[in-house]
């Protein structure tokens, strides 16, 4: 057992480095080296012995290269030690969770050495903090890291698992947000599957996985007729309509495409879906029209602050609508649509009034100039009449 507190000998002071200088080169910038850890904390041995044989002699706890199982224990020595990890603010349940994961179970129950353990994802000598963008488990890098195995067709076929998940994910709404738009908040593999306790969410927990981020959609979904369906693997909750790894930005079109998979096109359920689709599409169209209307008014030189404020209220209602549609109740959507339509009417009316007022200003110039011309002619006539009188 290595003693975590014994961190006095830093790598440069360790005798191991005199022979393994190349390896120290890999270690020296790692988070572990920066915290004063050295070779023997993981590999055992006596770093104070100048002689290589004495340093690795029996009784020094020397283990050489740890195998996969040993490795998880080695990491766990410190990372499961609550008192020791406390100052660093990191969790200490990683090893426990790993044992519950598909990876951990295969390793420990089936002695399957092909599965991932700590170093497969975090690296070994050059372990970086998770918050370091260069770390293989920094959000942007997670999908690639998982893909080292999960995109390996030969390896995956042995487990009957698909190897195209990364390809699908890469082009999904989540994938583009994470990898192209660099949005660290976008869902990656671990967001749904967990990291140390990685398992696919069960069919009945899909809504919980999605609901971690999509809170309102989840709670509305739980109010729908679908929520109570028995978890018989036929209905995949969120994934039933949206898919999973290749999820695309949702559009109302989904109602036409997805309901039909379970409901006939004459069934009342299908018609409800169609109605809601129509409601949402109308709302989106209405919003878009007024957005254009405001933009063109602005380019005509009209002040549109009031209308823009109303438009953003419309937007709020539209967002509310897109979450509420998951209840699959047309009656819940109708009042929102009504509000959106009446706001659109108001925007239209106020802009029309502003346009009319500008038209009136131009028209007012006609009587103004008629008046001016009359006055000017009258004054000039009077001037000439006086001239002649003199």
């Amino acid at each position: 057992m290595m003693i975590p507190a014994a961190r006095s000998e830093s790598g440069s002071a360790s005798a191991c480095v005199s022979c393994h200088e190349d390896i120290w080169g890999e270690v020296k910038d790692s988070i572990h080296a920066k915290q004063g850890m050295s070779c023997h904390h993981c590999h055992g041995g006596d770093p104070s012995q100048k002689d290589s044989a004495l340093a690795k002699a029996p009784g020094t706890g020397y283990i050489g290269i740890p195998d996969k199982k040993q490795l998880t224990q080695t990491c766990g020595t410190c990372h499961s030690d609550v008192a020791f990890m406390n100052p660093y603010g990191t969790r200490t349940d990683q090893l426990a969770r790993y044992h519950t994961s598909a990876h951990g179970k295969a390793l420990f129950e089936k002695d399957d050495k092909r599965v991932a353990s700590c170093s497969d994802c975090h690296g070994y000598h050059d372990v970086l903090q998770v918050s370091d963008p260069a770390s293989p488990v920094y959000p942007f890098n997670v999908p690639k890291t998982c893909a080292t195995c999960h995109a390996n067709e030969k390896l995956m076929s042995q487990y009957g698992l698909p190897a195209d998940i990364f390809e699908k994910y890469k082009n999904s709404a989540h994938g583009t947000a994470l990898l192209e738009k660099k949005d660290t908040g976008a869902a990656h593999c671990a967001s749904c599957h967990g990291s140390h306790g990685a398992i696919p969410p069960g069919v009945s927990e899909i809504h919980a996985a999605c609901g971690k981020c999509h809170i309102n959609e989840q709670s509305n979904f739980l109010g729908s007729v679908h929520a109570g369906l028995a978890p018989d693997k036929k209905f995949l909750q969120c994934a039933a309509c949206h898919g999973f790894h290749d999820i695309q930005p949702a559009s109302p079109e989904l109602f036409s495409q997805s309901c039909i998979r379970c409901h006939t096109d004459e069934s009342p359920a299908f018609l409800v879906g169609k109605t809601i689709q129509g409601q949402v599409e109308t709302a989106e169209q209405t919003f878009h029209t007024q957005d254009q209307n405001i933009q063109s008014a602005r380019s005509e030189g009209i002040f549109t602050q009031d209308e823009e404020a109303m438009l953003s209220e419309m937007k709020t209602h539209l967002i509310e609508m897109t979450t509420k549609q998951h209840m699959l109740k047309e009656g819940k959507i109708a009042p929102l649509l009504e509000t959106i339509e009446s706001q659109a009417k108001e925007i239209n009316n106020t802009l029309q009034a502003k346009r009319n007022s500008i038209r009136w200003r131009f028209l007012a110039l006609i009587p103004l100039w008629i008046f001016i011309v009359i006055m000017v002619i009258a004054f000039i006539l009077k001037y000439h009449r006086m001239d002649r009188n003199e």
């Binding site: 002040f303 602050q305 000017v376 000039i380 009077k382 001037y383």
Partner: protein, 386 residues
């Protein structure tokens, strides 16, 4: 009729009307020189514009707020909410522009007809002060809407006096009320624009008009050889007043038409963190601004401050006797040269830092107003040598 009589006797019972009737009649009937024509209405047009600015300015003051937090928004409010707010804001903005033009033309008129010569030197000097205060109205008023253009033009404008040796920095800080253009500058400009300048101009105009009436409108006769106008004169009332009425109506129409057809945009709110490309002052400062670009800062300043000095001193420098412009070839040549240089520098300033097309060739006009051909495959704008 009875009512008129009653009021009339009510007044004559209390005041010795006969005594004032005489001078009033004299003032009204006093004949103007025979050459008095349309160009002699420019002075009253200036007065009309000043009154219009005061009235629309009072209306603006009802809603305007001179703080950096509210100024822009309050102008926006005026342009959208109050009844006819858009109209009086636009009439005030256009009125300011027209006033500068009309006062300048009036100055040219009195120069061309030699009216500034003895005995009207003081009328001229009060006029020069009026012209400078009119420009002051423009400079201070421009900042008040607190939009990007105004903010940066004022930043550049208040930088100019900083080049004066010894007192420059103090002067800049005095104008700005701090190291940068900010809330203090706005308060200062506001007070100057709505309190100090209007009252100064009010008293200056009173003095100016008193002098004009007291000395009478100048004839075209050479200094010292003025003949009595006699029967050839044009009575001020009603003859000249009718002419003023005609131009007054036309100016009113032009003002309202400009306000409606070419409204001034408010633009973006001032943002001290974002400097726009090619900051320029208002058009009437462009010639001066362009001259400053060429000369070493201090020399440029000297050159442009010579202009008002020359204006002030002109009646004492040019003591020749003829007033008729045709008999003053030297002064008129000098006058044309000055106008031309104002025009040329103004145009250079206007087109500087712009791309223009002349005879199908694209040119980039650099900051000094010099054109450079844009090569078809050039990726960047040509850099200015100098």
């Amino acid at each position: 009729m009875n009512l008129k009589k009653t009021i009339g006797s009510w007044i004559t019972d209390r005041f010795d009307v006969e005594k004032i009737r005489e001078p009033i009649n004299y003032q009204l009937k006093k004949p103007l020189p025979p050459h008095t024509g349309w160009f002699h209405t420019l002075g009253s047009l200036s007065l009309f514009l000043f009154i219009s600015q005061v009235l629309t300015g009072i209306l603006l003051l009802i809603y305007y707020r001179p703080t950096i937090r509210e100024a822009f928004e309050s102008v926006q409010f005026i342009m959208t909410k109050p009844y006819l707010g858009w109209l009086y804001r636009q009439v005030h903005a256009w009125g300011g522009q027209l006033m500068i033009i009309i006062v300048f033309l009036h100055m040219l008129r009195t120069f061309i007809t030699g009216s500034f010569k003895k005995p009207r030197e003081i009328t001229w000097i009060s006029g020069v002060i009026l012209f400078l205060t009119t420009l002051g109205f423009g400079f201070t008023g421009y900042l008040l809407p607190w939009n990007q253009l105004a903010y940066w033009a004022t930043t550049v404008g208040t930088e100019i006096p900083a080049a004066i040796p010894w007192v420059g920095d103090w002067l800049k800080t005095f104008l700005r009320g701090g190291p940068n253009v900010g809330g203090e500058t706005l308060s200062r400009f506001f007070v100057i624009h709505v309190i100090i300048l209007p009252w100064a101009v009010f008293f200056l105009i009173a003095m100016h008009l008193f002098l004009v009436r007291f000395q009478g409108i100048a004839t075209l006769d050479p200094v010292g050889e003025e003949k009595d106008i006699g029967k050839k004169g044009i009575p001020f009332f009603p003859h000249h007043l009718l002419k003023e009425g005609v131009v007054f109506f036309i100016l009113l129409g032009v003002l309202v038409t400009l306000a409606i057809v070419f409204p001034f945009e408010l633009g973006e709110k001032a943002d001290p963190m974002q400097t726009p490309h090619a900051i320029k002052p208002e058009w009437y400062f462009l010639p001066m601004y362009q001259v400053l670009k060429f000369a070493e800062k201090m020399w440029g300043l000297l050159i442009i401050s010579l202009a008002p000095l020359f204006l002030f001193l002109w009646p004492f420098l040019d003591k020749s006797r003829p007033r008729n412009p045709l008999k003053r070839p030297l002064s008129m040549t000098f006058f044309v040269l000055v106008l031309l240089s104002l025009l040329i520098f103004g145009l250079m300033g206007y087109f500087s830092e712009k791309n223009v097309k002349i005879f199908n060739t694209d040119y980039h006009i650099d900051i000094y107003g010099m054109p450079h051909k844009i090569l078809p495959n050039a990726t960047t704008e040509p850099t200015h040598e100098k």
